[in-house]
Symmetry: C2
Subunit: 386 residues, 2 copies
């Protein structure tokens, strides 16, 4: 069976394992015996079918509190293929993705989504593998006033939805620097701010420092009408300290828009964003592309293989994890999907109060230790046999 033909881990488990044992398997693997699916309206499911997107939704609950009302929010994540050839003119490629994702946004609105996030660099193919500057740099646009943000501001307002829009940014106020950036737009259609990818890979097909460097925007949390959100872009998910800072700044939901392939990272995928949810007491939303993108010129992948024009399929499998360690099933490995989760954000503080990691984490010790480690003459703490 090739990598490509395996559609979904969850479908296989559901298909073969008898119901009673499946409950135990799911309790251990997913943190809950039941998936708790959302039943969407006929309108939403029909529209999803019409648009051609796999709509799935799941509910996370929290205990009732006396002093706070439940804070119920529907969060959405979109994974999608890039259908138009990468040889088309840049504006044609971008317009096609604008249209495709706008259609999925209609489904999200119909499914009652309050906050949505798209995949990393969603307005373009993930062309960084080519290491060619042209024409790909043309996709970079202004975070606040570019055509993508302009369109998303309209749709955010129309749908009363917070939109997290990860794009390739060009900052003309700083000498035309390029960044990998997530733009946050409020449900009123206003630009709230942006976050620039903190950790930049240099591995295999992902030598992204060819195009942009480590982000200079810190670890901002965006206070929206529906909750406090942050964005850990792609490779930043490998760095627990990046996740941690978003938590220390008060995030309740952290999105992880990504572009990653099976050979590189698939066994890590279910681990990292979920570990972050557990360690930091917030929800995480892991989003990956689907499909194979073919580029005009061949390139090598630094893995001993001959030059080629694609580097294999992105495996999708987007999922949402909760601070109590439970998670949704994943979207498929190969199809456009819209994943919705209905969350009670009160769960964040409840889990923190239960486990107490915020009190037991000994931050002063680590502030001091890291300050020492970063000195060039640092001597690791090693104990040897006398």
């Amino acid at each position: 069976m090739s990598d490509n033909n395996f559609k979904s881990l969850e479908d296989t488990l559901d298909k073969y394992i008898p119901p009673e044992e499946l409950r135990e398997v799911k309790r251990i693997l997913y943190g809950r015996a039941e998936d708790n699916p959302i039943t969407f309206s006929l309108e939403a499911t029909s529209l999803a079918k019409e648009v051609g997107v796999d709509l799935r939704g799941y509910t996370f609950t929290a205990r009732k509190e006396d002093l706070r009302r439940p804070r119920i929010v529907r969060v959405g994540a979109i994974q999608n293929t890039v259908d138009i050839p990468t040889t088309a003119p840049i504006h044609v490629q971008r317009d096609a993705l604008h249209e495709k994702v706008s259609n999925i946004l209609r489904v999200a609105a119909s499914a009652g989504v309050n906050i949505i996030c798209f995949q990393e660099a969603w307005t373009m193919p993930f062309a960084f593998c080519t290491r060619e500057k042209f024409p790909w740099c043309e996709f970079a646009e202004d975070a606040e006033h570019g055509p993508t943000t302009k369109l998303m501001k309209e749709l955010a307002k129309q749908y009363n939805m917070v939109i997290v829009s990860p794009i390739l940014e060009r900052d003309s106020n700083h000498n035309d620097t390029i960044w990998n950036t997530a733009v946050v737009i409020s449900n009123n259609g206003n630009y709230i701010g942006k976050h620039r990818k903190n950790h930049i890979p240099r591995v295999g097909d992902f030598n992204e420092s060819t195009y942009y460097f480590e982000g200079d925007t810190g670890h901002p949390v965006f206070e929206t009408q529906f909750g406090k959100i942050a964005i850990n872009i792609c490779y930043g998910r490998h760095h627990p300290q990046n996740w941690m800072m978003f938590g220390l700044n008060g995030a309740e939901i952290v999105f992880n828009p990504s572009a990653t392939i099976g050979a590189l990272s698939e066994p890590l995928w279910g681990i990292e964003a979920r570990n972050a949810a557990i360690a930091n007491g917030y929800f995480t939303v892991a989003i990956n592309r689907v499909g194979t993108e073919v580029f005009p010129n061949e390139f090598t992948s630094a893995n001993g293989q001959p030059a080629h024009k694609d580097f294999g399929p992105f495996y999708g499998s987007s999922y949402i994890a909760a601070p109590d360690g439970s998670r949704t099933p994943a979207l498929s490995r190969d199809k456009d999907g819209l994943l919705v989760a209905e969350l009670d954000l009160n769960l964040c503080r409840q889990v923190k109060d239960f486990w107490g990691f915020q009190m037991t984490q000994r931050l002063p010790l680590y502030a001091e230790s890291l300050a020492k480690v970063t000195k060039p003459d640092y001597k690791p703490q090693v104990i040897r046999e006398n």
Copy 2:
């Protein structure tokens, strides 16, 4: 199906899923399509049967290098029940555990193990749930000269094996303070040093600060003849920054001796130690008890349930994870077990060189950020809609 009757996640997967699809399931869930079991000698398997311990072993390989020879090490982890009643005299309980684990050590020696670690506070039942000081404090003993270390020094020398022995420590040089401590003994039978549990839980049945406080030994790495090892005791696995510091000090294998129960942590178990292996470029060995321990006097678990004399079974499920994100199957949820992994430690640096996290982790940024966060007047980085 009750929690108790479900023996092992892996057994269920192996039983129901057809071979070809099982390969994909294992690739995604365990990071490799094959378990790569070790074939042990007849002597080892016979002895394991005689001793009554479930012996399992798996191999992890690394690429051949020109300048370094392979650094092959066999690592062992023991999970075991406490069979003798907790009402027996303290010395009888301790002697029984000494004998039981010494027998399993014979199996380990026969299986070629070079470094072994036992479960947390292995010389005693996990009596901290009772919050009674007596008689349980009597289990505390001197780390360097106590009876357990004395016995383990003999066995370490006899078997040419590094032993990590997590005990309840009493430090009579510091006014009889008690600690949760792992003692490291070299294969020559020498005491190398100790590490004290850095993060202490206060949750449910685990209000351990009743007995001992946060460790004061930093994040030592012990350089042994077979590799550089460290110990992250139990609840420290919830804190990524704790794992990180062991990595920054050069650990190649980090043991996580634990005592944890299903209702509290089972869905987190497969995530945390494995995430640490990925993020820090070392092997992790997650060890948990098995069985149910019944105490003389009833106690409550701060969960609304009536007082009781046990808090349910420890779920075992010990496993070993590699820096490339792959892992072994787990030992069972309910039986004594000895898990062995044959590692090539060269994999640690190879994975670090491949992913480059050690270069992309931006430690100075986090040293600075944490220093700010720890100030009482810290203002989180929050961006609001204008």
